[in-house]
Amino acid sequence: MESTVANKQKLTIVQAVTDGMRTKLTEDERVLVFGEDVGKNGGVFRATDKLQEEFGEARVMDTPLSEAGFVGAAIGMAVNGLIPVVEIQFLGFIYPAYEQIMTHASRLRARTMGHYTVPLVIRAPYGAGVRAPEIHSDSTEAIFTHMPGLKVVCPSSPYDAKGLLIAAIEDPDPVLFLEPMKCYRSSREEVPTGKYVVPIGEANKLQDGEDVTVICWGAMVPVAMKAVKEMDKKGVSCDVIDLRTLYPIDKDAIAESVQKTGRTVIVHEAHGTGGVGNDVLAIINDTSFLYQKAPVERVTGFDAPVPFFGFEDDYLPTAERVMHAIEKVIKF
């Protein structure tokens, strides 16, 4: 498998996702893309745009409206030599498949001592901010990171999206691939054509700073960056970490930064209670207790269901809230 990073193209996140699938569909016969509306329609977000045309109905296919069924079938396929990449239309519609993921996809390797494995990728757009109807805006990554045997990744940029998706497809274990739908088309970036990999488990330092560590991922990255830029102007310099992988979290990146700054702000869109932010907190507790100069501040979604879109801008963490948190850890 050579790495053909010859050319580059400017792509949005959703285009980079498509390109990642295209790259693996081209390279590996075993890869199969399916889900609701991924065929002719190219997905409701066009993430599979033209893939059926290119690779045929046998490789890119619509399934019945049956998340438990097609994730279950994907497990059977993965065990039997295929590499399914399935699309859940919105993360809020993954719950019918929860049992299949929880009791099978994630456990089959352990149950069979490695005899059967499940190289499966589940893609799902997640998050609020696109004025979608109810239930379409969930950000429930934490109910998956608490599921041993499953990896969870969440890119925030086109480059990472493609590279992480390829890594996910090549991973021998099941990976939940979360796509920040709010950012699907919000920016473009140079993305290499052909294959490259962004390794699962490695965070990305977005900005070096001395005063405060800001930890974020997915759709919260631009929000955090906006706050950080503002704080820069006020003379507060932040170390910004985009986790990229939510399980397993890059412990070293966190420890290194927190041991430098001693002050941490975590930003995520999911409900505070039980959120992945608390796993970050635990890592800080375990690795950097004596370095902490202030309690960690978490800027999160509230412990309320993601509201109707009339309120979603109020529900989502804002740059303002992040700035307040940064100020708070500094003033402590």
Partner: protein, 360 residues
Amino acid sequence: MEKQFPIQTWLDGNGNITADDYENSLTEELAKRFYRHMVRIRTFDQKGISLQRQGRIGTYAPFEGQEACQVGSALALEENDWMFPSYRDHGATMTFGHTLLNILLFWNGRNEGCVPPKGKNIFPPGIPIATQLPHAVGAAFAEKKKGTKNAAIVYFGDGATSEGDFHEGLNMASVFDAPVVFFNQNNHYAISVPMDKQMKTKTIAQKALAYDIPGVRIDGNDVFAVYFETLKALEKARNGEGPTLIEAVTWRYGAHTTADDPAKYRNQEESEIRRTQTDPLTRLERFLKNKGWFNETEAVNWQEEASKEVDAAVEEMEQFPAADPADIFNYVFAEPTWILHAQKEQFLQVKKGDPSWNQQ
């Protein structure tokens, strides 16, 4: 199976009666009531699309083409029955008595949209596909337990039949003899996925055989067939004879939602052909004309009334007091937990611009 479950029609495309036995049931009063309601909901629907285009509401799910299904079935209900709609069934809910204002608020991202008028048993639209079926079974079961004669109707599409909840709902209803009518609008598509990729069966009605309950296949563009078959099923339910699965064969002319482009996956010419040949409103109009009951002025009046009513509701929606963001926290529990309380306090302070908001 298509032979065992033929599509039942009372009116053909030209508005002629095909079910002679029932001719006496097709009264002028009834026909006009149907017509008026169908005009009303179509007017609303067209407004919904244009409001979305103008950015005055969010994504909207149109039902144009399915008016006979929604009006016929909703008018078959009694006052105290329960209705469990999907996101495409506000034609049914408004016919059953939901307010246009609240329906508009729903599509404008407001929680008020989920609140029916007092005393009206209308559930919020089911968004996760097929999840509303077990709810309807439970609500119907509760009526039975209370010893009332009330029943429940639940709406869902062809795609919804693939979900486990469809199956679990029908099975439980059959075991409990729950007074519920499963009203399927088979519009042949689940977003872009056509029926033959959704299931191998050519009918949905036959799925009733898996539960030993009656399965009825009707022309969903024939409001009489819809009305009387729904009535029959409800009657059975009230009499303790258990659930019925009704498949109303129909078509949506337009997009799945305003976020969808049907041209991506089907030839929209078919919609145009259907519009001229099997439109539920046109068919009823033809019937009224055949009977000599059609009165142009009356029809124009109804149309105008509908437009006025809808416009008034739109205005009401746009005048509606701004949402109070505190509502994010107010209704999670009967009594907010300390966490919600603290989050709300913080939130309101930052909203008010108080810089001390995050200082605990």
